[in-house]
Symmetry: D2
Subunit: 462 residues, 4 copies
C-alpha cells in the first residue's frame, strides 16, 4: 500500500526541511513540497506528520539476538528483538554471527541466518565473526562476503574462547583489505582481564562491583592500540566497537590522524550509565554488567564530547538480553562470582528514545548528529544501500517522531523478552509515532502493528 | 524558467542515487524517480544529465575579492570573481569584510556589500572582520549579525595592522558565544613572523623562497593553540582557516577532544602545492606566496589524510587575486623583498576541478567527502540555509558535472582577472557542464552564460 | 676553623656511601674512609654524624625576599629569610631582581644586591628580571651577566605591570641564547587571568576560593606552550617556574621531546597543598593564595609522579612572605577582593623537611631524587659552581640531617618574619642537625648559630 | 698495588673538579685536593693524569657474549669480549642469560656464569632471561635473584622461540614487582615481524635492505605500548632495551608521565648508524643487520635529543659478535635471505670512544650526560653497588681518558673476535689511557695489560 507522509519536518544527517514524502512499493519515490493525495495511487495511506520529525529508520549496528551461553540462550528471539527494535524506531539491526572456534563459518552463517529469516520483522544483516583463521575458513569467508555479509567481527578479548591470536588478526585484516570489507573489533586485552579477575577473586572480591576494576580503561586502550597497529600495517579498514572511555577513543584518534582508516562506535549504556549502577547493593549491580564495563561518571561526558565532535561515528547498543532472575543470577556469590554474570544490558528498544532524551533534549548533540550517529553512519560504514537516509530511491524505512511525547520505561511493558530494564522508571522525551520498513507500517505509538517476519537480509556493498 | 534535470547520478554528503530533479522558482520543488517533462510547467528547460553527477552548488567559505592593498587593489571584482567561481562550479562565496583598525565596522559592511550587490553573479555572504573591539564597535557588530552576517573573522597574525590583541580576542569570542555565531581565525603568531622576517632580511635572504622559513609550522601551531585556549575558556565556536600543516591540525584536534567546539579548514593550495613552487627561480616563486605558506611535500599528504578522516571540515581557497607582473613584483629584490609580495594564490575558479582531479580521481577521498568538504560543511557551519544540499525546498544551486571531461588550466583563458595561474598547464579531470544558482543557469561547459549581477546576499542563521 | 664530619652516610644525586669529610677554609678538601682527627689541623671541630645523613647544602632557586608591594613590603629581610633558610637546611637562595617597567636594570641590580650583601647569612644569587627590553637595557643586562647573574626571569603573566610582550620575550630569549644564560619564566596568560577575574568579581565571587578558578590549568598550559614555541624558534634554554598541574608539565615535556632545551620546576606548595586549603572559611583561605594557584588534590599526585620520573628538575618554594593579619587582609571582602590578596606562601624554612617528610618518608621519591631536586639540579642549571654536591673542592655547604627527629611546624617559633605558617601544626620527620656554609657552622638543631651577614654572592658560570 | 691518580679532571654525572684519587685494595679510599705520594703506602703506583679526564669505569648494560645460534656460536668469548671492553674503557658488562624455552633457568644460569667466571677480565653481571614461566621456573628465578642477578629479560619479539606470551609476561612482571627487580624487555611485536617477513620474501625481497621494512617503527612502538600497559597494571619497574626510533620512545614517555616506572635504553648503533648502511651493495649491508633495525637518518638525531633531555637513561651496545664471512653470510641470497642473517653489530669495544666522538665532541651531549648515560645510570638502575661513580668506598673502576688522542677504527687491530668492524676506518677522538678494575690496571693506551680472568660477578642490590 502506498504511503504519503504529509507535512513532516524532515531531518537527515545534513538537512532540515519541510516536504511531503511519497512511497510506492518498498521505496521512496517522490519528495515534493506538497503532494496532493489525489495525485497518488488509489489506496494510498496518508500519514499526518504535522508537528513531527521524519527521520530515516534508525540502525543499530551492534546487537546480539541468537546468543548461546553456557548451555542456555539469551532471552530474545528475532521475533521479540525485532519488535522491540521497531517499536523503538530502529528498522535495521546488524547482529554478530558467533561461531565457536571449532565451528564452520558457513554453517554458522546458515544457522544465524535461519534464526532471523522469516522471523524478524525488521531488516537485518550480520557481522561475520572470525573466531579462527585458516585456509579452509578463509574460503568460506570469501563466500559469505559474496552473499552480502561484508563485515567481519573479531575479539581481541576472550582469547581461547572467541578471541583470535595475532596471526589470525593479521590474516583477517589482510583478507578484509583484499575484499574491501570492514573489520569490527572488540578491543580489550584478554590476558590482563583474566589475570585481574583471578587476583580479585582470590582476594574475595566477587560481587558485580568488581567487574569494572577487572577491566580498567588501560586494558581497553591497549586493545585499541593493538588493533590500530595491525590496521596500519595491513591497510585494512577497522571499526572499534563499544569504546567506553577517553583512553580508548584517544588511541583510536591518534591512529586516525596518522592515517589509519578507522571508525569508532559508542554504545548507549556508556553514554548514560556509569559504574555506580554496577555497585548497587543486593546483586542488582549485575543488571549493569557488560564489557567493556560502565565507567566513571566523568567518562560519560567525555564520550558525549567525542560523539558531538564526530570522532565517534555511530551509536549502537551491544544489546545482549539476559534475564536477571534466571541468568544474571548465575554469577551471584557465594556460589558464583562476577565473572559468571552473563554480560549485556538489554537496550535495543530504548536506544533512540534515550539518545533523543539525553542527547538532543539536553543540547549535547543536535538533530543532525543524532540522525547521523544513530542511522546514517552505520549505513555508510557497513554499505547498507538504501538505508540511513531519506531520499528518492531509498528504502521507505521511516520514522515519524513525536518530540512532544513524555513517557517512562517499564520492564513490564517493554517488548524485549528480558525480565528487567536497566532504565526502569526513567523518563523519556519523544517517541516514534509511526515506523515503516520498506513501505510497510510496522509500529505505531509504542505498539507493534506490522506483519511479523517480513524483515529481510539487506544486500550490502563494500 | 523551471528546470528539469533528467537522469543524473545525485551525490550528496551521504547519498548516491538516481532520480530526476525539478525546480520551480528558485528552489528544488520535487525529486522523483522519473519525472515526465510533460507533467512540468510550460517552458520548463530539460537538462539531460545522463552519465553525469548532480552535485549541490559548491561553496567557497574563504575568498577575498575587494581587497585594498598598499594603494592598489587585488585584481578581481565581484564581476570577474563570481564568473570564475560559477564556471568552476562554485555557486556561493563567503568573503571577508576587512576594515582597517580605524574604520567603522558598519561602514565597512556597507562598502563591502556595495561591491557585491548587483554585481556578483553568484550568491554570497561575508565574515565580518573584527580588527578592533570596543563598546562602540560591539554595537555595530550586533547590528551586522542581525543583518545576517553571522560569523566573525579575526587575525592572530598581522597585529598592529589587522590583528587583534588578547583582550580583543577574548571579548570577540565572548560576544560570539552570546550571539551564537562562529569566529573564524587566521592563526599565526605575528611577533614571531615579524622577528623571523627581520632576521632573514638582515641576513640578505630576500627572495620568495624565504617566505616559508619566516613562518614555520610551529608559528602556526602556536596560533592554533592560542585560539583553542581562548575558545575553551569562553565556550565560543571557532573555525581555524587555512591550516597548512600537521602541527596546526594536531593542536586543533587535541583541543577538540578536550571538548572545544572547533572546525578546521584547509585551502586548496595546501593540498596540491608545496614549498618547492615558491623556490622556483627568477622570482616565479612569488606566484606561490601566501600565508600560511606552502609547506613540505609530505605535509600535503598529511592534509589529505586529515581531510579524508574528516578532521578537516571544509576546503576553501583563500582566493586573493594579485597580478604577477604588476603586483607580486612589488616584492622583487633588490628594490623589494619577500615581505612586500602581496599574499595570495588565485584559485576560486579551480578549486572544484582540482579537488576532484587530485582527490576523487586519485582515490584519496570519495565522492561524499568531496561534496561534504567543498559544499555541505560550509553551509552547515556558517548557517547558509538552503545551500549545500540537494533536497526539496533547498535553493536550486546545482552542478551537473561531467567526470569524463579532460582539460588543462591556462591563465589566458581563465575567468579570473589575474595575469597568471598557479596551475598553468595542469591537467584537469572533470568539469561542470551546467551550473545553476537559484534555478537560473549561470554557466555551461566552461562558459559564463548567466545574467550578470543576479547573485544575492544569503540570509544566514546561527 | 677546619671541620671534620665523622661517620656520616653521604648522600648525593647518585651516591650513597660512608666516609669522613674534612673541610679546610671554605671547601671540602678531603674525603676518606676514616680520617683520624689527629691528622687534622689544630682546632679542627669534629662533628659526629653517626646515624645521620650528610647532604649537600640545599638550594632554593626561587624565592622573593625584598619585595615591594602596593606601598608596603613583604615581611622578610635577608636577615630573617636567610636564617629561616639555614635553619631549614637551605644554604643558597636565588632571588628575583624585580625592577618596575620604568626602572633601570642596573640600578635594580644594585638595590637588590645591597639588600642581601653583608646581611644575608646564607649564600645567594639572583635571576635578573626582564620587565622591558630595549637597546639601553640590553647593554645593562650584558653587564649584569658579566657580574655573575647568569639567568633572566620573565613574566608572561602580569602584562602591563611586570610582564613582557612577545617582542620583548623574543629579544630576551635571543640575547640569552647569545650569552649562554637561562631564561626562567612565569607562564600564565595574563589577559585570560584578568578577564576571568573581572567576570568572577562582576558575579560577586570575591573570596579567596575564587582565585583558582580565575587562573585554571589551561591558562597555565597556554603560557607554557607559548614559552616553548619561543624557545624553539630562538634556540634559548628555558626554565619554567612553579608548574602546578599536569597540563602545564605536559606542554613542556612535549616540547622537550621535540628538542626544546627546557627545564621544569615545581614548588613545594603544589606538592603538598591543594585548593581545598584556599577554600577554608573565614578568609583563612587567603593564606593559601599564590600563583599559579593550588590545584585539585589529584594534581598533587601527578606532580609527585613528574618529580619522581625526573621530568621535573627542581623543587623550589616561590617563597613570598606576606603577613596574614596586615597584608593578606588587603584582599578581604567586602572592601577588598581576591585579586588584592598579596600572592605567596612563606615556605623557605620548611621546604627541605616537608619534602623529606612527604616525599622520602612516604616512598614517593628516593634519597637521590630528593637531593637532586632540592639541591644538585639547581646548581647545575644555574651554574652555581661549587654548590649542590659533596666533592673535594666543592664549597663546604653541608647538612648533617637527622632522619629520626620528629617535630611540628609552628608560626610562633619559626624564623620567617610572617605571622602565620601555611603548615601550622603539621608534623615533620627529619631535621638538619648541623648546617654549614663554606665551612662555617650556621645552624644547629633548629637554631641559628652562625655569624650574621656572612653570606656571599655566588660567582656563577653559564 | 695501591694506585694514586695525580691531577686528573674528575668528571661524574654531576661533578667536574680537580683532585687526586688514592686507591687501596679494590676501592677508592681517599680523594683530596693534592695527595703527596710520600704519604701513600709503599709500592703505590702513581698515575699521572694531568690534562686528562678521570671517569668512572663505563658500564655496558646490554651485551651478548656466549650466544649459541643455529648450531654455531657468536665469535667472542668472555676472554675476547672482556679485553675489548676494557681496552675501550668499559669495566663492567651485563650479559643476558638466554635459556631455550625447554631449558631450566638454574642450569642456564650456571652455564652462563661458567663461561665468564675465571675467564672474564672485567666485572660482569647478568639479566636472567625469562623464556617461559611456570611454578617450577619461578622457584629457580627466586633463587637466581638471591644470588645477585636482580633483573630479568623478556622478549616480546621472537615468540615461539624466546618470546613470552601475555600470561607469562604478566607473571614475570608480578614476580619482579614482588622481588623488587627490574624487567628489561625487547619490544617488537613478533607476529607483525614474521608476517611482514613472509610478505617480503614472497615478493622476492630477500636482501639485507629489506630487514628494516620487515620491522618498521610502528612494530616497535606497539611492543613498547604493550609493555607499558603491563607495567602499569602490575606496578613493576621496566626497562626498554635498544629503542631505535621516536615512536618507541614516545610510547614510553607517555606512559612515564602517567606514572609508569620505566627506563629507556638506546644502543650505540641507533645513534650513529642509519638504514642506508644496511642498503650497501654486495651483501655488505648484512654487517648492519640488528633488531630493532637501523632507521632513517632523521631518527638518529631524535635519539640524540632524547639522550640529551635524559628521557633516555642509558647507552648500551647490544653487542652480538658474528663474523661477516662465515656467519652473516648465512643469510646471503639466493640460498639464504635476510631473516637468516645473524643479528648484531659488534661494538662493545667502540661504545665509549664513539659516544665521546659523536656526542661530546660535537656538542650534542655534555660530559656529565656522557658519564651518566654510559656508566652511572646503568649502575643505579641495575643496583651495581660500588660502580658508576667516583667516590670513597666505590670500586676503583676508573678510566683516565685522553681527549686529545686521535685514532681510527680497524677490524684488523681490534680486540673483538669478529672479522669486521661496522665502523671500519672511522675516526675517533679520545681514548682511554689507563683503565682499572677494582684497583688493578687492565688496559693502557689501547692495549690489554691486565691479568686475564680476574673479573668478578658483581653483587647487586635491588
Amino acid at each position: 500500500m502506498p504511503l504519503l507522509f504529509k507535512n513532516p519536518r524532515i531531518i537527515t544527517s545534513t538537512d532540515d526541511y519541510g516536504a511531503d514524502v511519497y512511497c510506492v512499493g518498498e521505496q521512496i519515490t517522490r519528495i515534493e513540497r506538497s503532494i496532493d493525495p489525489k495525485s497518488c495511487a488509489p489506496g494510498t495511506e496518508v500519514i499526518d506528520a504535522s508537528g513531527k520529525y521524519l527521520f530515516p529508520g534508525f540502525i543499530d549496528p551492534h546487537v546480539h539476538v541468537y546468543l548461546p551461553f553456557m548451555g542456555t540462550y539469551a532471552k530474545d528471539t528475532w521475533e521479540t528483538a525485532s519488535r522491540a527494535a521497531l517499536v523503538g524506531g530502529t528498522t535495521t539491526l546488524i547482529e554478530m554471527i558467533c561461531p565457536g572456534k571449532g565451528d564452520e563459518p558457513m554453517a554458522a552463517f546458515e544457522t544465524w541466518l535461519s534464526k532471523a529469516s522469516g522471523v524478524s520483522s525488521c531488516d537485518f544483516s550480520f557481522h561475520m565473526g572470525v573466531t579462527r583463521f585458516d585456509p579452509a575458513v578463509e574460503r568460506q569467508f570469501r563466500e559469505i562476503v559474496k552473499r552480502g555479509v561484508t563485515s567481519f567481527k573479531v575479539f581481541l578479548a576472550y582469547k581461547g574462547a572467541l578471541g583470535v591470536d595475532d596471526r589470525e588478526l593479521f590474516h583477517t585484516l589482510r583478507l578484509a583489505k583484499e575484499l574491501g570489507v570492514v573489520v569490527t573489533a572488540h578491543c580489550e586485552n584478554e590476558t590482563l582481564v583474566s589475570e585481574l579477575q583471578s587476583q580479585l577473586l582470590a582476594a574475595g572480591k566477587t560481587g558485580p562491583e568488581w567487574h569494572e576494576p577487572s577491566r580498567p580503561p588501560r586494558v581497553e586502550a591497549e586493545g585499541v592500540h593493538h588493533l590500530m597497529t595491525f590496521a596500519e600495517l595491513t591497510g585494512a579498514e577497522v571499526y572499534v566497537v563499544h569504546t567506553s572511555c577517553d583512553e580508548a577513543v584517544g588511541e583510536a584518534t591518534r591512529a586516525i590522524s596518522r592515517g589509519v582508516n578507522a571508525h569508532i562506535e559508542v554504545v548507549l549504556p556508556h553514554l548514560i550509565l556509569d559504574k555506580s549502577f554496577a555497585e548497587r547493593p543486593g546483586f542488582e549491580g549485575a543488571k549493569y554488567v557488560m564489557s567493556p564495563p560502565l565507567r566513571d561518571k566523568q567518562q560519560t561526558e567525555r564520550m558525549w564530547n567525542h560523539l558531538r565532535s564526530r570522532a565517534v561515528s555511530t551509536v549502537g547498543t551491544d544489546h545482549a538480553p539476559f534475564d536477571f532472575e534466571t541468568q544474571k543470577v548465575m554469577g551471584k556469590p557465594p556460589a558464583g562470582d562476577f565473572t559468571k554474570i552473563p554480560n549485556g544490558i538489554p537496550s535495543v528498544e530504548n536506544r533512540v528514545d534515550l539518545l533523543f532524551t539525553h542527547g538532543v533534549c539536553t543540547g549535547r548533540i543536535d538533530l543532525h548528529t543524532f540522525v547521523d550517529a544513530a542511522s546514517t553512519q552505520a549505513a555508510r560504514v557497513f554499505g547498507l544501500h538504501g538505508k540511513g537516509t531519506i531520499a528518492v530511491g531509498a528504502d521507505a524505512d521511516l520514522v515519524v517522531y513525536d518530540p512532544g511525547y513524555r513517557g517512562a520505561i517499564r520492564a513490564k511493558s517493554h517488548q524485549m523478552a528480558t525480565d528487567y530494564s536497566a532504565f526502569e522508571g526513567w523518563e523519556t522525551k519523544g517517541r516514534a509515532s509511526v515506523v515503516t520498513v520498506r513501505g510497510r507500517v510496522m509500529a505505531r505509538d509504542g505498539e507493534f502493528v506490522g506483519k511479523p517476519g517480513t524483515g529481510r537480509l539487506v544486500p550490502r556493498g563494500r
